[in-house]
């Protein structure tokens, strides 16, 4: 809502500087997003937290001038010379303004034309500089086509009023020649963000009420008594409301013999500053009144309605649209109507989309002489549905869909008729036709100082509370210690019961001042401290993985099926996957919720490939799956995803390990992570999964429970991405299983008193025997005394024979109480070797 301060001052006394007013409004919930200066002087350095823009008019340089005669330029058809008086002396001013040409060679003008005159040396906006917004220029003396030029009559763009530059400003006749323009019509426009709860302030009067309540300035209410001198309206039109829930009130007024011409300049200027384009004095009056008091109005051509009614008094009917009904709105679009759309009709059919837009047929036009003026009240939900179904936002709908009090309907019609009378010269018919079947429920909220203390933490007496509410026109009666509060007839936002109390408490706090409510600390009982184990585990994993060289990433969870399919080999038929689909995607690459963290991760690896020779990433996030009928419709699974590619360590001046990371780097990371979580008994079993290399993929399990999958990405899948040669490995772990399996209370063994016995053991086995099997047998056979087993060498060579490999282990024997003898160690070793020979056909190579 753009509020010119000059207009606001007509309804409320303002003594504060503009910036201070803006600051107070902002604190009270009417956020002033910008102050745009249009003529008035701007504040100095120290401003109050509001964005400031615009242009100020120097009072010495820019004044009101009068053009007394418009004469031809001796040498140029498209320029004229004006004889102009600036209050001090006469000047000859050169201009090409098309709106002066009608006055050319008309001799001495009576009355003269009032213009905005910029004297020699004045600074104005350079209207021809397209490159910069508001580039300034200073008027200098020069010769144009042989005529001296040093000053000018300004356009609106040159003064920062609007973008208009077709002609110069022609002021109203009462503008005093010689007066500083800033003094006459300097302004500043507050751009206020109107939140839904302050919809009542979507008008100048509405803002004025807030200003009065907040600053204590006196509210000046506009007169609502139009001069009515025409034939009474009664009997010349009638109203029928089919559904009062949708249309609680409908008011009509009539003005006859209007002359459609331009509105006075001050009206046009205000409309422009408020962001509305002036059309003619009839349309301008409806818009001006809507901005002024908040009631959107609609003007019908009365003669068109008479004609449609066959010369009889028209009957206006409001009702829901019938199925298949259409209406051509005044933007010339034929609209199909929904059954919830409310229409204003007559007996011949629809006239307008109620509260949203008028119809083309009954619109006021060039030839309109008699205007029937509608002010109504509509159900805001219904207006909203119509606006979104028809894609038709408008200034009227903006207000109706936020709720306009029905009481304002008649006020709007009365006020607008008076403006029309003044600006069109028409005659207003006596009286109004007013159907008001459903006045709003009158709320009476009971409130005590105890409520205020309990909710706001301030203690005020009933009288003090009453005073605060009265500033906002609430009707307050106090009985003992209880206030009974009635809502003023311009608000619809106060509920009943406890909700009504809260609604009032917000108003009390705003007027009292949020800044005056003292800060306190929570004093109620400390709730149960339960912690959040899942999050704590996640954070532990994050710390561990970052500590061992991985970067945490967070990716988009909205993706596309195409992006997700990249993790499948291209020669496989694409699987039919059931995605959670967005009904209203914003772009074609973001249409579904992801099912695969792997796809998200590989995309990020691809993105970074040119900038990093080592990429090690992880993410903890959700995958989304549509669910079966009986459960919650969506399953969200939290996963940990890891991806690894490139060289093992960064380039360094010494000792850099420049080998490429492979399966075992990834496995090492996972082993370290799981060891850190004290997760024992984890097995890695060869597996095949579509996205992974068939020979380099393992299923990770804990006591037979599926923890996740890891491996090298299938080269065919890798081919779907732009990636370097290096192997790319990845793992996806299930966070929920991990959380269930991790036990925070692991046991710690005491430090043995006796020294351990260390020895190495090398065995030859068939190449296809998994190392995990060998290790498991050694551990099982070694029993408690075998404290540690570590594989430190894997070797294949000619002397071992085809299909054989040697595995070398370092063993640590340790007894908790005694020193082991050679004999005891030999016996354990013996049984290990015997079991390996028997079960795996292993041969002892050395020990």
């Amino acid at each position: 809502m753009k509020v010119p301060i000059s207009w606001l001052k007509e309804y409320v006394e303002i003594t504060l500087p503009i910036e201070e007013l803006a600051y107070k409004l902002t604190l009270a919930g009417l956020e002033v997003e910008e102050i745009r200066y249009v003529g008035l002087p701007q504040p100095g350095e120290k401003q109050q937290a509001t964005k400031i823009s615009g242009f100020s008019w120097n009072p010495e340089e820019i004044v009101i001038g009068e053009v007394r005669e418009v004469m031809p330029h001796p040498d140029a058809d498209r320029l004229v010379l004006c004889r102009l008086d600036d209050g001090k002396q006469e000047h000859t001013v050169l201009t090409g303004a098309p709106n002066l040409f009608p006055y050319l060679e008309k001799g001495e003008l009576d009355p003269p034309l009032k213009v905005a005159y910029a004297r020699e040396g004045a600074t104005i906006i350079d209207a021809y500089n397209e490159s910069k917004d508001m580039a300034l220029t200073t008027l200098k003396r020069k010769k144009i086509r042989g005529v001296d030029s040093y000053s000018m009559a300004c356009s609106e763009r040159e003064l920062g009023i609007s973008e208009e530059h077709e002609g110069i400003i022609l002021l109203d006749q009462d503008a005093p020649t010689g007066q500083a323009l800033a003094e006459y019509m300097g302004d500043a426009v507050l751009d206020i963000a109107i939140t839904p709860n302050i919809a009542r302030a979507a008008s100048i009067l509405g803002v004025a009420r807030e200003v009065a309540a907040i600053t204590g300035g006196k509210l000046i209410l506009p007169s609502l008594e139009p001069v009515m001198e025409g034939n009474p309206i009664k009997g010349r039109v009638s109203i029928e409301i089919k559904d009062p829930e949708l249309n609680p009130r409908f008011v009509l007024g009539l003005i006859e013999n209007v002359e459609k011409k331009s509105s006075p300049y001050w009206v046009q200027r205000r409309l422009k500053l408020a962001g509305i384009r002036p059309i003619d004095c009839v349309v301008d009056a409806t818009n001006y009144t809507m901005l002024e008091i908040g009631e959107p109005l609609h003007a019908f051509d009365y003669d068109v309605l008479l004609e449609r009614a066959g010369g009889k008094p028209p009957r206006i009917i409001t009702r829901r649209a019938k199925s298949g009904e259409t209406l051509t709105t005044l933007d010339d679009v034929e609209r199909k109507l929904d059954d919830f759309t409310v229409l204003v009709t007559d007996q011949s059919g629809p006239l307008s989309l109620a509260g949203v837009m008028g119809g083309a047929d009954s619109e006021v036009g060039e030839k309109t002489k008699n205007v029937l003026l509608e002010g109504a009240s509509w159900n805001y939900v219904n207006i909203r549905r119509t606006v979104s179904a028809q894609g038709l936002p408008s200034e009227a709908a903006y207000r109706f869909e936020r709720g306009v009090h029905p009481a304002i309907a008649s006020q709007g019609v009365q006020r607008c008729l008076e403006w029309m009378r003044k600006w069109t010269g028409g005659v207003v018919a006596q009286g109004l036709v007013d159907e008001y079947p459903l006045p709003p429920f009158e709320t009476r909220v009971k409130l005590t100082p105890g409520d205020i203390e309990r909710w706001l933490g301030i203690s005020l007496s009933a009288v003090e509370i009453g005073e605060l509410l009265k500033k906002l026109d609430f009707e307050v009666t106090i009985k003992k210690d209880e206030l009974v509060v009635g809502t003023p007839p311009h608000r619809l936002d106060i509920g009943e019961g406890m909700v009504g109390k809260a609604d009032l408490m917000e108003e009390i706090a705003r007027v009292y001042g949020y800044d005056r409510i003292p800060e306190t600390n929570l004093a109620d009982e400390l709730p149960l401290q339960a912690g959040n184990r899942a999050l704590e585990l996640e954070d532990k994993i994050r710390d561990k993985l970052a500590g061992i060289g991985l970067q945490e990433i967070v990716t988009y969870r909205i993706t596309s099926p195409e992006a997700e399919l990249r993790v499948f080999p291209p020669d496989q038929s694409s699987p039919e996957l059931d995605y959670l689909e967005l009904a209203n995607p914003i772009s074609s690459d973001k249409t579904v919720m992801r099912r695969s963290m792997l796809a998200s991760l590989l995309e990020i690896v691809e993105k970074n490939r040119r900038n990093r020779e080592r990429i090690a990433l992880f993410e903890i996030g959700s995958e989304f799956f549509p669910n079966g009928e009986n459960k919650h419709p969506v399953e969200e699974k939290l996963k940990l995803a890891i991806a690894l590619t490139g060289v093992r360590t960064h380039l360094s001046w010494q000792c850099a390990d420049r080998e490429l990371m492979d399966f075992y780097d990834l496995k090492g990371l996972i082993e370290e992570l799981l060891a850190d979580l004290h997760l024992g008994n984890v097995s890695y079993t060869p597996d095949t999964a579509t996205s992974f290399h068939p020979g380099k993929c393992a299923r990770i399990e804990k006591d037979g429970k599926y923890l996740g999958i890891m491996g090298e990405i299938h080269p065919k899948v890798k081919g779907n991405y732009k990636l370097a040669e290096a192997p790319l490995t990845a793992a996806i772990l299930d966070m929920e299983t991990l959380l269930n399996e991790v036990d925070d209370l692991f046991e710690v063994e005491s430090i043995p008193a006796q020294p351990p016995v260390l020895e190495d053991l090398a065995l030859v086995v068939d190449d296809d025997v998994p190392a995990q099997t060998v290790q498991l047998l050694i551990v099982q056979t070694g029993g408690k005394t075998l404290a540690e087993v570590k594989l430190f060498d894997v070797y294949r060579g000619k002397q071992l024979g085809e299909g054989k490999k040697s595995l070398a282990y370092s063993l640590v024997y340790q007894h908790p109480e005694k020193t082991l003898t050679d004999k005891e160690v030999a016996s354990i070793r013996g049984s290990i070797v015997k079991r390996l020979e028997k079960e795996l056909g292993a041969q002892l190579r050395s020990w």
Binding site: Q47, A49, T195, P196, W455, D543
Partner: protein, 353 residues
């Protein structure tokens, strides 16, 4: 005899003076303390002396020997130290060469900010509560006092999810804020304690989604942290106190706060909390866009309807709620110009955290 011993001592000590390496020290030791040194000759000849002379000379000779040995030991020490110094001189390295670093990664900036928020509110007794990202209209809007077609829904443009069954006025959607978690948490709580429920203090972090064009200032996906405190006698003053404490912990003890009236359907009164710009101290800079204040969070007293929807009687209980964007806070603190950096995951950005 004693004079001779004295001479030996003087001569030996003065001969030791110029000795400055191991070799000459060894020669000196042979000459003055060796088997055929003059001193040893005297010891050997002790037997030839008279009964009276013998102990006197013996004692003096011994004193000389001890003195010479001590001097020799001292010298040896000196030579050794000097030798170490010489070796060290040769071992000089270029300390400006880079060190050998282990490889480490880092935690995503949003996670880091989230953790700071958790810590501050954790200290004030707030527990972390998480809930699902795909919600129903009922939980995301209706129970939070946004009836269908309410104008406040304009402030939260929503992604809806297609559904096989017709869900009428309760479509599935991507949550636009973590507030539905407030309802879940309150309902779980009041179901568990139907009589006189104890207070709740939680914060609700998580990913949220809004239907918006992606620009440097707005994203379709962002994290939010909400907070909720419900109990008997919780006031707007408590809200101000708690959140000002948070601001001081998060932005420094000097941080100033300001509460502006605002509107959210699920709180009343509602407010926005601004923090005095910690980059320019309130004078105005590019981060605060000249205002001197930074918008940090929205907050308010929990709306009676929302309390009731959560199973609390608003005539007895009251509470406050607040919500903030950890990405936005991270942007302010590190002067990040573009919110798209957060999910683009360019390592050149992430490496800096």
């Amino acid at each position: 005899m004693e004079e001779r011993l004295d001479l030996i001592r003087i001569e030996a000590l003065s001969a030791l003076e110029p000795v400055d390496d191991e070799k000459s020290l060894e020669n000196w030791q042979v000459k003055y303390l060796g088997r055929s040194s003059q001193l040893m000759e005297i010891f050997k000849a002790l037997g030839t002396l008279s009964k009276e002379e013998k102990p006197i000379v013996g004692r003096t000779a011994n004193q000389v020997k001890v003195a010479l040995e001590a001097a020799s030991g001292e010298k040896e020490n000196l030579i050794n130290q000097r030798r170490i110094d010489q070796v060290l001189e040769g071992e000089k390295i270029d300390v400006t060469l880079p060190g050998r670093r282990t490889i480490s990664g880092s935690i995503h900036p949003t996670t880091q900010t989230l953790r700071e928020i958790y810590r501050v509110f954790g200290d004030m007794g707030f527990q972390i509560y998480r809930s699902r990202e795909v919600e129903t209209d009922e939980f995301n809007f209706q129970l939070l006092n946004f009836p269908p077609h309410h104008p406040a829904r304009d402030m939260q443009d929503t992604f809806f999810i297609t559904s096989k069954q017709d869900r009428g006025d309760d479509p599935l959607l991507l949550r636009t804020h973590t507030s539905p978690g407030q309802i879940h948490a309150m309902l779980e709580h009041t179901k568990k304690y139907p009589e006189d429920p104890p207070p709740i203090r939680i914060i609700l972090p998580g990913m949220c989604y809004r239907y918006e064009q992606i620009t440097s200032r707005s994203e379709i996906q962002f994290n939010q942290v909400e907070g909720l405190a419900v109990g008997k006698g919780i006031t707007f003053g408590d809200l101000k106190g708690t959140l000002s404490n948070f601001a001081r912990r998060m932005f420094g003890q000097e941080a100033k706060t300001r509460f502006r009236a605002s509107h959210f359907p699920f709180t009343e009164p509602s407010a926005e909390m601004d923090v005095g710009c910690f980059l320019c101290g309130g004078d105005g800079c590019s981060v605060c866009k000249g205002a001197g204040w930074l918008e940090i969070l929205g907050c308010g007293m929990v709306h009676p309807t929302v309390l009731e929807n959560g199973g609390f009687d608003p005539e007895v209980y009251s509470g406050f709620a607040f919500g903030m964007g950890p990405e936005r806070i991270t942007m302010m603190r590190h002067h990040i110009e573009d919110i798209r950096y957060f999910w683009a995951n360019d390592l050149r950005f992430l490496d800096q955290f």
